[in-house]
Amino acid sequence: MEAIILQILNGLDKGSAYALIALGLTLIFGTLGVVNFAHGALFMIGAFCAVTFSRILTLSHTVVDETQTDFLGNPLKVDVPYLHDLFGQATGDAIIDWAVPLSILFTVPVMMFVGYAMERGLIKHFYNRPHADQILVTFGLAIVLQEVIKYFYGANPIPTPAPQAFAGSLDFGAMLGFDPNLIIYPYWRIIYFIFSAIIIGAVFAFLQYTTFGMVVRAGMADRETVGLLGINIDKRFTIMFGLAAAVAGLAGVMYTPINSPNYHMGMDFLVLSFVVVVVGGMGSLPGAVLAGFLLGILESFASMREVLEILPGLNQIIIYLVAIIILLTRPRGLMGRKGVMED
């Protein structure tokens, strides 16, 4: 029992990341009909937004501190972040400590802009070309973005810790009445799960309850008719692309404390997110979320020791295996709509 709960919990945070990326991918696919291989790169850029933001916060100038001396007896030179000058030491340190959550504020506009620029500058020209061309050009773009990040930030992972307040772990088992220390779950992963649930909920609410969302949904169903009604649907779809980029970016920002960002993290997630989208059903938003969590949890179940003893290596291939089975038995995916990319 404890083991099962633990595996479900473990699956949730990975599943949240899959769900968020797959949600963005599906949004782009459902609105613009473009298969975006650069979506993983957007996730990665989001993560590096967090890195950049925390670097901006810790920008410092050197002052000579007379009260301390180094080992030669000279006055010690100390780096003082500008934030200390602005807000005083305690507040400044607190802001730096909370760099990752705060960088959300910084990431959203940046990612919206990146998404907007990508759509207007490149992807717009590919609507009338075959899907293979779209895959290829976004694949090329992903390589370029990845290499640009690598040039500026280097190839090594950059540790970006969560705020001190969330550093520990929650003894989840004790709360449910099991023995203590059986089910331990880091606070940040809980935050990540809640955060992604909020984002997913917000995206759905936005589409469901606002006029803008209604128009977008109408456009997804029948783009031409909406255009005939005198609505500039292209413009709205461009904004949706920006939104999808922001969702991927936020997934990346919040993921940084779980895994230190490096330049190829996007590609690692991209392959899996595509599988997630296909399992959920091309163009289906609930399908993407469902499949994301489902595959995340299945993956963590497959890495249980008991399972690995019977079927060694299952944890490595479970996601792909599920995808193959689903694609062959339910070609439309779990919740795919009829008529959307069925061949």
Partner: protein, 397 residues
């Protein structure tokens, strides 16, 4: 001749000439000059040119003719490599059975994968092949370690005793062709130039020429026409009463066998294999090669493979000091500025150049470098003509 028409025969002869004279062509700069680092005429790189050429030709047979974009082709290369190295470890150090084994194993594997993946087309096909390749990679890395050697991969060790070999105690076997060592080279010094003629390269080149010939024949055959019909309109083809599945499967398997052939040759040249050969970036690389060179053209994939392998091996070696040396004739400030501008695109950043080049090709030249060449050729021709006819025509009212 050889069942080729005049144009194809010309192409075949040009390719034959180029591959046979490659040690000369790829070493145009004298050894002692500063440009010597652009020389690509060393055996290891030349072997890679032709082997990846084979791989890309095979990929092009699938993608170029049928339009099915496989994102997991490296799996067949990897499986072929494993087949070949086991043949060398257990049966014979001769490369011919090893290469055949690679082709056969990759062929069988591609029948299985193709049978499943070809039920779907478009993006689903791409993702299914990707899933299979990633699965093979993950398995080779973990559970199949007894067969694949896991992370360290497989090499020919001094303890390997193939059945048909006469190795002395403790001697490490070497790949050979009836006693001729793959690493055997004949070096020719002419003045300041050094040309290396490597046995392994010539064997790989001959295999490549055969593969190229077969691909021309497939392109021109009724089977090739059928595949192109599948690409242009599969539904119409089914309505005319032709089942496209067996044809696509045949193309998939042929393409997989080409990949296996390339894998077998790679093993024949360096007698080692690791699972990273199957990673999906390796599959992406062959896609890049084919698109860059020109998808659906005969010579394009070979060209693309050459360009990418050249960039990977030569462009990546250039570092900052070399750049400073090149631009030393400029004033200091300007020199630093130019180096600062150029540096991100070379050396370790060669992937960036590759990505940009690839995007430009996809956006502006869907036919790849071959189309670029044709356009330039046409432009030069038309420029000559334009003077005679007076150029522009008046629009009709």
């Amino acid at each position: 001749m050889l069942g080729l028409n005049k144009k194809d025969l010309q192409l075949m002869l040009i390719v034959t000439g180029l591959t046979m004279l490659a040690p000369f062509i790829l070493n145009p700069f004298p050894e002692s000059s500063g440009m010597a680092q652009f020389n690509a005429g060393y055996p290891d790189l030349m072997q890679r040119f032709v082997i990846f050429g084979i791989f890309a030709i095979g990929f092009n047979l699938l993608f170029g003719l049928t339009g099915y974009l496989s994102f997991g082709h490296a799996a067949f290369l990897g499986v072929g490599s494993y087949g070949a190295i086991w043949m060398m470890k257990l049966v014979s150090l001769n490369v011919i059975p090893a290469i055949f084994m690679g082709v056969i194993v990759a062929g069988i594997f591609s029948v299985a994968v193709g049978y499943i993946c070809l039920r779907r087309s478009g993006i689903y096909f791409s993702i299914l092949t990707l899933a299979f390749a990633q699965m093979s990679y993950a398995l080779a890395y973990s559970v199949l370690t007894p067969i694949t050697g896991g992370e360290t991969g497989l090499q020919i060790k001094s303890t390997d005793r193939p059945i048909f070999s006469s190795l002395e105690e403790g001697e490490t076997g070497r790949a050979n062709l009836f006693g001729m060592d793959m690493r055997q080279s004949f070096e020719l010094n002419i003045g300041d130039w050094l040309f290396t003629f490597n046995a392994g390269y010539y064997i790989a080149a001959i295999v490549m020429l055969i593969a190229f010939y077969v691909s021309i024949r497939i392109f021109r055959s009724p089977f090739g026409l059928m595949l192109r019909a599948i690409k242009s309109n599969q539904t119409r083809m089914s309505y005319t009463g032709l089942n496209p599945r067996p044809h696509t499967l045949a193309a998939f398997v042929i393409s997989g066998m080409y990949a296996g052939l390339a894998g077998g040759l790679l093993v024949a040249m360096d007698t080692q294999v690791g699972p990273e050969r199957m990673f999906w970036t390796a599959s992406g690389e062959v896609v890049l090669m084919t698109i860059l060179g020109g998808v659906g053209t005969l010579i394009g994939p070979v060209l693309g493979a050459g360009v990418i392998k050249y960039m990977e091996n030569i462009l990546s070696k250039i570092n900052k000091d070399v750049l400073h040396e090149w631009f030393a004739f400029m004033p200091d400030g300007l020199e630093d500025f130019i180096v600062f501008l150029v540096y991100p695109f070379i050396g370790k950043g060669w992937h960036l150049t590759l990505g940009i080049l690839f995007m430009l090709v996809v956006i502006f030249l869907p036919g790849g470098l071959v189309e670029g060449g044709q356009r330039i050729g046409k432009w030069i021709k038309n420029r000559g003509k334009a003077k005679d006819t007076g150029g522009s025509t008046e629009p009709a009212e």
